[in-house]
Symmetry: D2
Subunit: 331 residues, 4 copies
């Protein structure tokens, strides 16, 4: 829904098709009353038939499907000449064995992994521009990777000491009729879940390992809190011997000083989700604890914005030659 | 307010005096409409004069005052023969130098520190029974200490690896007119705060050090989330070499199998604040991450219940010979 | 769940049986972790077999079942000598034709309607004491009826001008996996629903008609708001010619001055749900608008407390000779 | 803040000055971290000096000031050649005596009332285009007036029977450090307030009276609910004799079929605030209760969008020749 919201408002986008088995035949505005009167919102959902989609003249498809299902339709659309930006996990992992370990079934399209680009625009803008198939990163990984990658690239922290604690809004679980997602189950509630081996660990460690140039294994503990949207992540890691705390700020500045969608809050900046909801920004602050020599990284993003739909549109902008902020400069 | 709620409903308690400079002369039920029609709620607030308080025949005083202020009135009441259960930080630290480091002023009554008992009933029941002056623990420390203490006593974890991430409801900040506590500032918001050296670190490390028999320095990162009450804490620590994960469960069982107010959720149990709000329980679950050899401790309590008012009443029950659960068996 | 919470804590209650087809065999504490360690919470859910229930020695059964289903089991339990307190709508209406009009099917046990007592203890205490079968009122009706009944009995208002607007927490919809009840659908949302003929109108108008001694037809508009519990109702009606506003306050005082669970806030008192959640109180304030000669009645209750479980226990206390406030004096 | 958000994103707007005594010297992005990196957000707050404001080259000023204060600065800015869009109540009432009755002090600029236009664009587009001074309507009035005006203009309802019940988010109270606006006071709370004579009644009745061509006196009951933004209003009124329910739908269709920012939900449509937050839309549904012959009007808007900042920008678009939806087509 958030992706649709962004695409409906993007000056360079014409929606030619939206698919849904369940809602086929109903216009967008009927399924999502919020979009009523938005230009393009009278478009009707159609069945997800690759030929029919291609026949609409679509040049690119955004896939918001369960893992396992996304790969099949991605292949079909690629074969019909569309580019594909996949928001599922199907193309995020380079190694099909890791995919099988974390997702519980053989990878449905291992031959496509080679060309898929892990679509973190702050890290791989050039590859994204040339890509035919984007694996858009997950919400937790985005909030964890962006602050950590520059520190690992610059050898500032001990990789084995990384621990990420995240708090996520309930939209992160998707929109499905399920008891634990009821208002009265989530409201006035806070809890960890998915420990000790959440699926997002696989892509987090893959990207950290690339940045560090050595195997990185981390702890990641997600928590559910009663907000609609937003992820706040606090990551701790021990500074390597001899590294000054200021090097942390310098590495972040160097990496993101010119980034359109990373806002650096500096030392002591405690990122707050309420400043990033409905935007494509990641706010990043940090602190150093002299008593333990740990660095604290505090990041906040909209889990369905920069953590999903916004990031996908950011890759789209790169792939199709738009300004990075086109359609994404919301505050 | 939560403490008053518990005292009004406690069969062994007669409220003889409530004090407030601001509300002096107004009955309890006028200040807190929720208490209207509660037996005892027509009691009027009086000025906090020690002689007047003693003259009401009170045998024990609960102090919910700012640090620095509490010590003075505590001394005056002790001199008049009352026992004192202090919910402030004034008597929690054994070392006045640590107090000064964390609270920014010299300790107002260092001579009383020797007899003050850190009132964690699961740890010091016998001392509490005999005490004249209780320093009732803070909300964060309670949720962090209870799961950790048995692990440290049994040498199961590396003390230097302890990191506690807590999420707290907004009642934790008290009831004062302040912009950051407004509904619209807290709702749909999540953020860390008070890093890297929250005041509660001082009592946390004091008690962990006692349990470990060696100096313990930890990281503690509090977060504010949009719930009225509840703290959920996730603590990680590395198991010592050769310690089996099962030893964690066994140590918790041994420590709290018979505890009235600790509910062990076992391995994989993700404690949820919604199950403990308005109760005196701490729910504790744990998990082991074989990939990093870290143990995860997940605890939940009501920050104004077991984390404040409830715990104070629990000490009261011990001091005055009531059943531990008297007035606290709420669900 | 709220009813169970109250019964587990009631000094005069021993739970002998809890029934659920879905949870049969699981203990209470496993289904509702909040109740863990509550005395009695190891009781296992059993299938709803009348003979088996009777065999546990139960003297009274509380029914929290869908309308239509409740009547059958009520009859079976009555035949086996149990008293029945039914929280469904099955026995609330005196006229089976009205039941059929509002609930869409023939009444399942019209022969029992004669002896069923509409269990509003503030109105029918004596009948409740003698009753074998209680129809415990719905949540909306309780908040609407209590302020209105004395005004109608005293002929103070024009019955045809009564309009009630209520706002209810999400627990009012029950605990079922349904898209509109998801956190993200209810949070940051407010809306009317169920207009123009909500089922509760039937019992509201029945009771108003009895009090007025003439046919009363009203407008009732329920709204859903993002709180777990609580109903706030604002009812307006035109004063009859020559009636002074003070007569409204006098009628409320006369009716409820001695009521244990009605708290009169007086003129200008805007009842707030946060003061009644988890209690059995209804708070009632009123105002007069001289410009329109309308009286405004503002009431607040806990929809699952006084609006459901608490009210049922209040009837139980009357039926079994307990003090009215036994097990219900929560604040 | 919402107005600033809209102006920062409006393609036709260049912010030349923002004023605040308290924040003078600080850039927008420092006061509102959400706006960080927004083009224009490095503009610094300045003192509210009319000459200094005029010297920035500003052509129009938006005033978000307390009533009484706004009129003075409005006059000063008008004298310096700026147009003024005032979001306060100072210019909403045609009659200074009514102003004094409702706001408790003499009108500060009665000579300007003659030219001020009550800026409801759906009703007075042509006058707004030519105006120098706009009195932008309040949040409650907008949600109440829009559905009612066509019904009164077409003589469909009895004016004396109009009763409006509104529920508002907490932003409606402004951003000030005040106990009743604290998170823990508003969360899990719902209540009426400001009865029986809320200030907004004055402008509501003025506009209804104009539409009806006769004096209209109504009841209006505002309620506070725990959402950040959004107003849902349910208005009831009795149909005049002989008017068919369908005439209600027809009148709404005729009035708003071509309106950019009114979305008609039709008969049975229960407007939900979650579909209009952060937009400039008012959603309007209606129902007829055959039992009482009352029509129910259900409207929803964002109280700080269409109910304040968005509506002001809508008038701005009219005054300066932009497309009505410029800068406001958010979903």
């Amino acid at each position: 829904m958030e992706l649709l919201r962004l695409l409906l408002g993007h000056p360079g986008v014409e929606l030619t098709a939206v698919t849904s088995r369940q809602e086929a035949g109903r216009p967008l505005a009927a399924v999502f009353p919020r979009f009523s009167k938005a230009p393009g919102s009278d478009l009707e959902f159609m069945m997800p038939d690759p030929d029919a989609i291609a026949a609409t003249g679509a040049e690119v498809a955004f896939l918001a499907l369960p893992h396992g299902v996304a790969a099949e339709i991605a292949r079909a659309l690629l074969e019909r000449g569309l580019k594909v930006i996949d928001l599922s996990a199907d193309f995020r992992l380079n190694d099909p064995a890791v995919y099988e370990e974390y997702y519980g079934h053989a990878h449905p399209a291992p031959d496509l992994l080679g060309e898929a680009v892990y679509g973190l625009p702050e890290v791989r803008a050039e590859e994204i521009k040339r890509a035919r198939l984007i694996a858009s990163p997950g919400c937790y990984p985005t909030s964890i990777l962006l602050p950590l990658l520059p520190l690992l690239r610059n050898d500032l922290i001990e990789p084995a000491t990384i621990i990420a604690n995240s708090m996520s809004g309930v939209t992160g679980a998707g929109r499905k009729a399920s008891l634990p997602l009821l208002f009265c189950e989530c409201n006035e509630s806070a809890r960890a879940y998915g420990v000790p081996k959440h699926r997002h660990l696989s892509e987090i460690e893959q990207e950290l390992t690339i940045a560090a140039g050595e195997d990185v294994v981390v702890s990641f503990i997600p928590h559910l809190i009663p907000v609609n949207t937003g992820i706040a992540t606090t990551t701790t890691a021990t500074l390597r011997d001899g590294v000054s705390p200021e090097a942390v700020g310098a590495a972040l500045d160097e990496a993101y000083g010119g980034a359109d969608f990373v806002r650096l809050l500096g030392r002591g900046g405690c990122a707050d989700t309420k400043n990033v909801t409905r935007t494509n920004f990641v706010d990043v602050g940090w602190e150093h604890d002299a008593r333990t020599n740990r660095v604290l990284l505090m990041s906040a993003e909209d889990n369905i914005g920069k953590g999903a739909g916004g990031q996908a549109v950011q890759s789209f902008n790169l792939m199709f030659g738009y300004s990075t902020t086109e359609g994404l400069h919301n505050f």
